[in-house]
């Protein structure tokens, strides 16, 4: 397992905690929005663990905070949200999925949001970027049909994360899902081999993992 995030410190701590629990985890500090990051991330990851079986595009940004109306959103903020949430996953998928197609197996998971589907006021930059990511996922799946490579979209639901706190500071945390439990459901989903490529899955609809 190779973890990618911008901040080396917390990333190394997370990798160390996975190793302490018996897992095999590596860390690459990088920003998926960087133009040159994808080839370097793909190269380092394959050097550390060999050809990749699964790519999870999980990194994302809310855009400007506090969340604001589109009329108050700077063009640069929309560009930044698209760079992180849409173009970054596109570049990484492009850098990794080719070798998956050649081997005839692999899975790409795009982590999305219900903001990709519902038009929530003040979620313009984030929602538009995630809606575009969803559609890109469907087109990836259509183009890769028959190659053995699946592209899935997962809506994790509202989770008790720092990003959610940034977006909705006064949320009732008792109503938010534990990200670890959501992650366990996604792992179980991938292990099951279902669903078909191109599907969009809501984590809340997946069975709870003990």
């Amino acid at each position: 397992m190779v973890l990618v995030a911008r901040h080396a410190g917390p990333l190394a701590e997370t990798a160390a905690s996975i190793r302490a629990a018996g897992g095999d985890a590596h860390a690459i500090a990088a920003d998926v929005a960087d133009l040159d990051a994808a080839a370097a991330i793909a190269g380092q990851a394959a050097a550390l663990v060999g050809p990749l079986d699964i790519l999870i595009n999980n990194a994302s940004t809310l855009g400007p905070q506090p969340l604001r109306l589109l009329l108050d959103t700077d063009c640069e903020d929309l560009s930044r949200a698209l760079a992180v949430n849409l173009v970054g996953p596109f570049r990484l998928t492009k850098a990794v999925a080719g070798s998956m197609v050649l081997r005839g197996a692999g899975t790409v998971v795009n982590v999305s949001s219900d903001a990709a589907v519902e038009a929530y006021p003040r979620w313009g930059a984030y929602g538009a970027s995630k809606a575009a990511l969803d559609h890109l996922g469907r087109i990836w799946a259509a183009e890769l049909e028959g190659t053995g490579v699946r592209v899935l979209t997962v809506d994790p639901g509202e989770m008790d994360t720092r990003m959610h706190a940034d977006a909705v500071p006064d949320a009732d945390r008792t109503l938010l899902a534990d990200p670890a439990r959501v992650a366990a459901r996604i792992v179980a989903l991938l292990a099951s081999g279902a669903p078909a490529s191109g599907a969009r899955v809501a984590a809340a609809a997946l069975p709870e993992v003990a």
């Binding site: 990798a15 040159d36 550390l48």
Partner: protein
């Protein structure tokens, strides 16, 4: 040929000179004239590949990603040096060659030599430290380096400090993404396996729809030049490769059924022919090192055709192609490529040596492209089903081979 100075507009838009060493049926075998050789050359583009291969053929590519193998740095006295990795790491040690001051605008052979450095000398590449562990037999500039960190921290530092090997004939430096093929996996090559660069997924998927199969191996494509006379005279140095069992199965099945094995690049030829030569002519799966030098007179055991970049004469790459064409036909091909203003080097045009290509070429012109895709898929499906059943363990050393190759 003049070097290509930048990327083509489209990866698969580069020109392709097709060389058919056998010629069309009815070709007079006793005719060894230049006119006959000229009739065996066809000028097209790489986008025509799906029409030139046929159902049952196998395309074998090198899936090595290209390392940021050029590390600019300093010795302990502050003299600028560049370390160019010679291959992937051997355990904790990185084989490398040292160059003196300069940058990508200078030809490698014009770069001053590095200061004389012995085993034990420390080097610094930005914040990444290294020490020369030992010095190679060819030249004091051929070294093995041990870096001051390992694992995640080392790979992060290599990708932060390193850049791809650069070329003075280009109009601009090359970023890392520009030296990757569309199927790059493990970073194993120190220069781009450039024969695979023109292959787009548009072409690869079109080939598969026609019933052409693909397979991959990983070969540590080495440096094209170091600027050190002794090392350059010995190129290509022994290079590492790794051939998956599935590729051995696909090769054997293809040959058994009369399909052609088409290697993408001289690195793939070296890996397949080297691996077979190392096991008495039987292609075995697994990792190895090959020092095989292939030239005119070498009789290929595994490979029928080669997709390659264009190569001037004389060169080790051209000598390898001559093993498939004979020297006379290759000479005519290089002359034709020059006359047609083909470009060369890593971003340049391409050549395909393929027995029987002339028939496909004529068919594609006179009969259109009306082959039955359903039949091709049928053949491909049958091939993949039988290939899985034919694999048996190889005797000894944890290797594996195809029983079918012996039966």
């Amino acid at each position: 040929m003049r070097p290509a100075r930048t990327y083509p507009d489209r990866r698969d838009g580069v020109r392709l000179l097709v060389i058919d060493p056998r010629g069309a049926a009815g070709d007079d075998a006793s005719d060894v004239s230049e006119a006959r050789d000229d009739a065996r050359l066809h000028d097209t583009t790489v986008a025509a590949l799906p029409r030139l291969l046929r159902a049952g053929d196998l395309l074998v590519v090198n899936d090595a990603a290209t390392l940021p193998a050029s590390l600019p740095g300093h010795d302990a006295a502050g003299h600028p040096i560049e370390a160019r990795l010679l291959g992937p790491p051997e355990g904790a040690l990185f084989p490398a060659v040292l160059l003196g001051a300069g940058d990508w605008r200078q030809r490698t052979e014009d770069r001053p030599p590095p200061p004389a450095l012995a085993a034990g000398a420390p080097l610094a590449f930005g914040d990444l430290g290294a020490v020369i562990v030992d010095v190679g037999p060819l030249s004091p500039r051929q070294v093995r380096l041990r870096f001051d960190r390992a694992g995640d921290a080392l790979w992060s530092a290599l990708y932060r400090q390193g850049r791809p090997v650069q070329y003075s004939h280009l109009a601009h430096p090359l970023p890392l993404w520009a030296v990757q093929t569309v199927f790059a996996a493990r970073p194993f090559a120190v220069e781009m396996p450039s024969a695979g660069r023109p292959l787009s997924w548009e072409i690869l998927l079109a080939l598969r729809r026609r019933g052409v199969r693909w397979a991959a191996l990983t070969h540590a494509a080495g440096l094209s030049a170091t600027g050190d006379g002794a090392i350059d005279a010995a190129l290509p140095l022994p290079e590492r490769y790794d051939i998956p069992l599935a590729t051995v199965a696909a090769v054997s099945e293809t040959r058994r059924r009369g399909g052609r094995v088409v290697a993408v690049g001289t690195t793939v030829v070296r890996a397949l022919e080297g691996a077979a030569a190392a096991h008495g002519g039987v292609l075995c799966a697994g990792a190895g090192v090959t020092a095989l030098r292939i030239g005119p007179g070498h009789r290929p055991l595994i490979v029928d055709g080669v997709l390659s970049g264009t190569h001037d004469l004389p060169s080790s790459h051209a000598a390898l192609l001559a093993a498939f064409t004979g020297p006379a036909l290759l000479g005519r091909a290089v002359s034709r490529a020059e006359a047609l203003a083909y470009t060369t080097h890593e971003l340049g045009d391409a050549m395909l040596v393929l027995p029987g290509a002339q028939v496909a070429w004529i068919n594609s012109i006179f009969c259109g492209d009306s082959q039955d895709a359903v039949n091709y898929q049928h053949v491909a499906d049958a091939l993949s089903q039988t290939a899985a059943a034919a694999v048996h363990p190889c005797p000894g050393a944890g290797r594996a081979q195809l029983g079918g190759a012996h039966v």
